[in-house]
């Protein structure tokens, strides 16, 4: 990852591919998260949840880079979680990593099926069709009680780790740091993917599909490749969340979940990898403490914030931080291709 050096070009037309002033944010963030179980153990679970959600939000973020928003990505969050839970119920001594892999595979396979269909659409249709698929799956989860546990869901029993059965506390530690490793690894990978030829071609869907076609590339296939990545990311988040909570319910794929992911993505900074995790963390913290005082108007607050961000701070939290730490006159357009 680049160090935080500022480019010295005075022209305000230089694009913001120069290193972000927020590279330190990663380092500080990771250090804080590593310390939490020791310094503030009561927040361990919350931070765990936040990281898992952050991964799912990263999935939504990938699509936002192509200018598309999916209102149904909770589908992959849930499918991965249920796949993991199913496996645990049928083979109780399964290992943690196997569960993870199976969960992600489930999400990717589902992503392929749904993706092949939805990549023919853009904009509103894309968003709402994803929603439709997630709600279809939700109905299936609710109705087929004998298979899925219905509204009560499935218990997600504790898997073994490298063949060892761990107790509650030990497993939670393993889980916590595993999620952190996944956050760092997948965050890094996604960041590199965005900067790679494949990722850049994917992002051109936002600005000019005609030209993309005239470069010899199928826009649908380009979108599908990003879609599969986004489904996989959501899946990782979902299966980790399931293991952290110990239960998976149809609520995992409920539309409010999908909306929450989109909200966090926009809150953090639409299109920013850091934003996905920063947004998730702040969201979880605020949600947990605010629901006590403002449970009744929680949606109103979210909606209000969403409006404020879109109208006045389209770069989200990361955008605000970047402006605050900008030293030269360059104004990074909130829409430039490469964001951290």
């Amino acid at each position: 990852m680049p160090t935080g050096t500022q480019s010295s070009k005075p022209s305000n037309k230089v694009n913001a591919r120069m290193t972000s002033p927020l590279s330190w944010l990663w380092i500080v963030g990771i250090a804080v998260i590593i310390a939490v179980p020791f310094l503030v153990p009561s927040m361990q679970l919350l931070v765990n949840f936040a990281m898992a959600k952050g991964l799912a939000v990263l999935g939504v973020t990938v699509l936002l880079r192509a200018g598309q928003v999916s209102f149904g990505h909770a589908l992959y969050f849930g499918i991965a979680a249920y796949a993991g839970a199913f496996l645990m119920t049928s083979m109780p001594a399964t290992d943690f990593f196997v569960i993870l892999i199976v969960g992600v595979l489930g999400a990717i396979v589902a992503g392929l099926f749904v993706g092949l269909f939805v990549v023919r659409y853009r904009g509103i249709f894309f968003g709402m069709l994803n929603l439709a698929f997630s709600m279809i799956f939700w109905s299936i989860l609710e109705k087929f009680y004998h298979l899925t546990g219905g509204a009560d869901g499935l218990r997600f029993t504790r898997p073994t780790v490298f063949g060892q059965a761990l107790d509650h506390v030990q497993f939670n530690m393993v889980l916590y740091y595993s999620v952190l490793v996944l956050v760092v690894a997948l965050g890094w990978f996604t960041h590199r993917w965005f900067a790679s030829p494949v990722g850049q071609l994917f992002q051109t869907i936002k600005t000019n599909e005609t030209r993309l076609e005239y470069l010899g590339i199928s826009p649908k296939r380009a979108l599908l490749s990003g879609y599969l990545l986004s489904a996989a990311l959501c899946g990782v988040g979902g299966v980790m969340m399931g293991m952290a909570q110990g239960v998976v319910t149809p609520e995992y794929v409920w539309w409010v979940r999908s909306a929450e992911m989109v909200f966090i993505a926009v809150l953090g900074g639409a299109g920013s990898v850091q934003g996905a995790f920063l947004g998730a963390l702040i969201y979880e913290v605020v949600r947990t403490y605010a629901s006590v005082y403002a449970g009744d108007i929680w949606q109103m607050i979210l909606g209000g914030f969403l409006l404020i961000i879109i109208l006045f701070a389209p770069g989200g939290l990361i955008g605000i931080l970047e402006s605050a730490f900008k030293r030269d006159t360059t104004k990074p357009s909130a829409k430039t291709g490469d964001r951290k």
């Binding site: 439709a132 709600m135 279809i136 109103m300 109208l311």
Partner: protein, 301 residues
């Protein structure tokens, strides 16, 4: 399935379709003219229903005849359009016309979230119910099956009147033609002196009134609960998407398809009745991505 059940399902479907069409009409009108998918449309529907029930309850308690419910419905619809719709367009939507489709969608979605809690704050979470309007019109018996005249006759009648009225309005009245012109080419319309801002405001208010009217008309037929707005937006979007965004006549047909599909599913396969609108939409779009009556957007280069 015996004949009576068949008729019941049929009547249910038609009544339901009529309501959904009225709401979808507003949604597709707004989209056709302003190219914005108003996610808050469902909330306007719900608020129309809540407002009607509140007004009806208030006036009936004062001693007014139950038939007064009907004019109150119209009042509710207009209130929704003017008190909520107009400021929404004027202060909020007007700022986002230049932004990307995604952002516009998120803005109307944010409004939806806000309005959902507004409903909760104003009316609480308990169900509301007032069926006086149904009772005013009484029942009819068709082929041995008894059904309310309100649902079987009045609702479809209103839907048809609105459909024909909208067609006439858009094609044969001056304002309607201004709207049509602005829809086809906003810049050209402005260059010949049409105030596109006003056209947009007017269109949005009409769309909002229609949503409110749908809610008002629905209020006697069902208990009003939180979440009915969310249900309705998904349903009306399914109707609009299946027909093709902006297709008014097509929306009538798809409303009927989806209404009947859902009601028959309730009687035959209740487990999937909730899924039917989504399934129909997905199946149609699989074959015709632009909707049954939509025309594929040809990009010019």
């Amino acid at each position: 399935m015996n004949f009576s059940i068949f008729l019941l399902a049929l009547f249910d479907g038609v009544a339901y379709a009529a309501l959904v069409f009225i709401v979808a009409l507003g949604l597709t009108l707004i989209f056709g003219v302003m190219r914005i998918l108003n996610v808050a449309h469902g909330s306007l529907y719900a608020i129309g229903a809540y407002t009607t029930v509140s007004l009806v309850g208030y006036f009936l308690a004062l001693g007014f005849a139950p038939a007064f419910a009907f004019p109150l419905m119209i009042v509710s619809a207009i209130l929704v359009g003017i008190v909520i719709g107009a400021p929404l367009e004027y202060f909020l939507l007007r700022r986002i016309y230049q932004k990307s489709e995604v952002l516009q969608l998120l803005v109307t979605f944010a409004v939806f979230m806000i309005l959902e809690d507004v409903q909760r704050l104003v009316w609480g979470t308990q169900p509301y119910f007032n069926s006086s309007a149904l009772q005013v019109l009484g029942n009819v018996t068709v082929f041995g099956v008894t059904y309310t005249a309100y649902q079987l006759i009045l609702l479809p009648l209103i839907a048809v009147v609105l459909l024909l009225g909208m067609r006439f309005f858009l094609r044969h009245t001056i304002i309607g033609k201004l709207i049509t012109a602005t829809t086809e080419d906003r810049e050209a319309a402005q260059s010949i002196g049409i105030d596109a801002d006003r056209v947009f405001l007017f269109t949005f208010v009409i769309g909002a009134v229609l949503a409110g009217l749908g809610g008002a008309l629905a209020s006697p037929t069902t208990s009003i609960l939180p979440g009915m707005g969310a249900d309705m937006i998904v349903l009306s979007f399914a109707v609009v998407a299946t027909a093709g965004l902006g297709q008014i006549e097509g929306a009538a047909l798809t409303a009927l398809m989806i209404g009947l599909g859902r009601s028959f599913a309730v009687y035959l396969y209740p487990e999937i009745s909730v899924l039917v609108p989504y399934l129909i939409m997905v199946l149609v779009l699989l074959v015709r991505p632009e909707g049954l009556f939509g025309s594929p957007a040809a990009r010019k280069i």
